[in-house]
Subunit: 332 residues, 4 copies
Amino acid sequence: MICVLKQNVSGEREEQLIKWLKSLGLGVHISEGERQTVLGLIGDTSKVDADLIESLDIVEAVRRVSEPYKTATRQFHPADSVVDVGGVKVGEGLTIIAGPCSVESEEQLVGIAREIKKSGAHILRGGAFKPRTSPYSFQGLKEEGLKLLSVAKKETGLPIVTELMDIDHIDLFDDVDCIQIGARNMQNYELLKELGHINKPVLLKRGLANTINELLMSAEYIMSGGNENVILCERGIRTFETATRNTLDLSIIPVLREKTHLPVIIDPSHATGKANLVPPMALAAVAAGADGVMIEVHNDPMHALCDGAQSLTPARFDQLADQMRKVREVVK
Amino acid sequence: MICVLKQNVSGEREEQLIKWLKSLGLGVHISEGERQTVLGLIGDTSKVDADLIESLDIVEAVRRVSEPYKTATRQFHPADSVVDVGGVKVGEGLTIIAGPCSVESEEQLVGIAREIKKSGAHILRGGAFKPRTSPYSFQGLKEEGLKLLSVAKKETGLPIVTELMDIDHIDLFDDVDCIQIGARNMQNYELLKELGHINKPVLLKRGLANTINELLMSAEYIMSGGNENVILCERGIRTFETATRNTLDLSIIPVLREKTHLPVIIDPSHATGKANLVPPMALAAVAAGADGVMIEVHNDPMHALCDGAQSLTPARFDQLADQMRKVREVVK
Amino acid sequence: MICVLKQNVSGEREEQLIKWLKSLGLGVHISEGERQTVLGLIGDTSKVDADLIESLDIVEAVRRVSEPYKTATRQFHPADSVVDVGGVKVGEGLTIIAGPCSVESEEQLVGIAREIKKSGAHILRGGAFKPRTSPYSFQGLKEEGLKLLSVAKKETGLPIVTELMDIDHIDLFDDVDCIQIGARNMQNYELLKELGHINKPVLLKRGLANTINELLMSAEYIMSGGNENVILCERGIRTFETATRNTLDLSIIPVLREKTHLPVIIDPSHATGKANLVPPMALAAVAAGADGVMIEVHNDPMHALCDGAQSLTPARFDQLADQMRKVREVVK
Amino acid sequence: MICVLKQNVSGEREEQLIKWLKSLGLGVHISEGERQTVLGLIGDTSKVDADLIESLDIVEAVRRVSEPYKTATRQFHPADSVVDVGGVKVGEGLTIIAGPCSVESEEQLVGIAREIKKSGAHILRGGAFKPRTSPYSFQGLKEEGLKLLSVAKKETGLPIVTELMDIDHIDLFDDVDCIQIGARNMQNYELLKELGHINKPVLLKRGLANTINELLMSAEYIMSGGNENVILCERGIRTFETATRNTLDLSIIPVLREKTHLPVIIDPSHATGKANLVPPMALAAVAAGADGVMIEVHNDPMHALCDGAQSLTPARFDQLADQMRKVREVVK
């Protein structure tokens, strides 16, 4: 870590800072420049609060040489991680996750599960607990929804991923293969810490206004607790553009490839909010090197009571899955 | 609620939609235009999921006439609400909340509490549980911090406000006069629902990338549960500008005045991240009509281990408090 | 166009508005709802200033049924447009534009032009006039640069595209096949109007903070003047994310496909600012259905005096061009 | 300027860089750290393209110690600048600029000019050339509008400020006291360069998505040409929030106070887009220390053909002007 001091800092204040930095267990390499002093901090700087140091009035700038995350960084873990979700190896080849936005009924869920399996999907998604902006909107079938997911899993053999909103519900998730943490909870640190102590894969979605580094720091909250089975998911960020619900930031794929060894999944359905935008963005995600995509499929979009218009029909999904595999062939 | 249908929608699909809208308990007033049909939805539309309707492929646009929030809206509650925080009437006159970012020690906290009281502050703030981007950053004194807040309260008589991050900690908050919900938890709906069932004022901070309407919907989560003692707080939003930590959106004050009866507090310390920017923005907040401000004060900013550089010294705060009262005189 | 009036608007004010709307040459279809009135505006609404109407205090909302652009919209021009750039048909198949950020010397430019032609590029790009944030940064070789572009064109037969910053320079652009308008000038309306009167293709780049609709309105400025040879180009928008220089918004491709008949080109080099991010984003652009890509290539990135680190070597470009053609095969 | 090299950079590449930096006329102070090298660049770094250096693959980070602008920075010009606009000293006391969005007629303009003068306004504003998103919207009375501004100036003695969109119109601006450059042209560098060669004050508006540093660099374009009479103006930035037209970033006031000696004006009318939001934000601007405000006033908002709903009536403006002066008394 490089710490550039402001000009004309009194020797006394400089001493004070250096003493404090050393008290944090860091080695301090001082290089006196003509106009200002630069401190090189040596040791485990991942535990250092760079914001705090930069906020000191005698400090001009702080630059990390190594990233602030230890377990998520590729620096100390060059090989790609593969996360096992009920037998599916996420991070090996292209993983296709599909299913309805919300679980509505056994007939609906099992029907869709059978269809997507035929099209080559590997994991079934479906919301039982739904985070909704309005307290008056449909909040999901909750426990009943989880039971239906288990039925669909039994019927088709597809592992299941579904969202957890409160750690107190964890006992209901025994049969769930992968826990999804939604964008709104990406910085719900108390929840993340709890997930560090269980032994299930976690699909962590990027918050609407969170940077890529913040996403990795949230992954670090889980991993530092002992659970390293984390899958990162981009689902669109909030910008000034209103033509799409959110702006899908696909450049996150190559950026994360450099920074971390964790697998990266893209969710074009929530990002765009419109069914006709999903196939092009799903293909783009695969072309950019995503480890997988998560796509909403519904047997009757018009009837779906949640985000109907962003769901694909099984027929359209089948065609898309085929194209995605072909694009993967080209870029792998 | 106005629902504009697309052109050339088949009568059958239109029937289907109208039937479904009526099944939601709404009256539907149909007006056939030359090119398209406009539906007027009558009844309690606050429970209607406008996003869902707008997402239907036969719908051109949906416009609310009444807001989606029932208890927070000024429409059904024209008079300003006043929230009682340990005897302090937030919403009546200018409320000044001050204190350190983090509780560090009894000496520090009680010392600051005495200083700010002398300067005319009404409520003491101080973090015991600290949400930090990095799991390796200082997370607060937790339970010990809450005890110190109680001591400072006893010593000075100032009511206290502090952040709650997990409902499981609620028992520790008995002596806390106002529960703060941080920006990162603004859409932690499970937590908000729980707060609807307790009888304590809640200071709800706007999320970094949340709209004013989303802030009101989150307030609605709390209020719809029965707890109407909600105070709204702007603390800066995330934009492209990097000269300040966040962009303080003061126009939220007059906008909220129109939309809701709830009191509005501004936090210029977290928004700007720099002590020298705090006084001008605090004065601006008062001039724009804020019901109060929340300001970080520290007796030794250089030494503060959390956000030191955004804290004012007691002397600077004393001067600011005086100016704020004078500005209030002009604009009230 | 649908105009929803507020509730309890006096008949007199309503009359006033309707009279004024009719004075704009519009037919007005009035439908009185139970709670409010909805006006259907019939006729050529493309000339109506929707913002103005919505800003009137008796108006609740205004919704366009047809887009505000007449010549750019697909509504009145269902077939895709093909723009001829020196014999290259942009909008038919995949168009590859490549070249250095800045023109530096004949040897550099002709060398790169020969390389990219071998790799299958169709058009040569290179900056002669460079818009730079700082008046002290290299501003391009200007007229000399344009001469070198002509030399490269003669040597290789590749048509050339380069940026125009001031209409007073237009005489120097005789031999240029396509005029590029940079992001910073997307709303330089006086310049756009002038381009409407010349007969050369224009590559119009999206502004850093401009919506897709604003991009189309700027295209309309050119087209309404008579020059319909407009190519739209996405080069990244400004968001809170700092890991990439800008955020490449690829969802613009399917969105523009619906809204307009104009060809869409993606520039991943300026959007990402880093060479290693360019290939994945270029492949993503092709997978999402772009009509073409514009890529910076330099024979000696280390030495390039402008945006060196975002340029690909000819070898890397050759490999990418091959992959792009294969992805195109899959998705076309 | 501090330049931090990456780890394990070969001595040869380091030599190459240092040689090149020296060729730019800079002194290079090398300090070899344990893990990496830090270069201190001495001399006139304002002409150095930091982005270019940072983009080099062997460079970890570049930090300026002095700002990239020489004439706009407070560093070399500690005293506040005062810009004389037709006898009004902008930068001394509170300057109030007011007038209609667009010049419509002599009766309208002179009427408003007389009213605002009575209320204590110092400068008259009014648009003759109007930048509009749509080519079909009202574009202003152009030359005729400038003539009417001169009439109003003669009638009232108020200096006038109005927008210039194309340098070719400059001859028409002889009688204009201050040239306004709108947000869309903030980075129209060819226009800015021309303004550096004339001897008239320029009111430079911040672009919708431009950083504070970019605003200062654009001021530098004008000042480096010799015209140092620049007034900076904030008029709202583009964010995700849609409750207001733009987000007024008032923290720009104290930030600019530190960085530059130029006067700062706030335009709350365009930022908010709604008349009822203008007074609170205008008062907030004064409380935050603005040198002046620019406010739209119209004698008949309902009838105004441009941005009617964001204009204040003369009566409301009179009341606001009085309050602004009182707030100024408190904070000056």
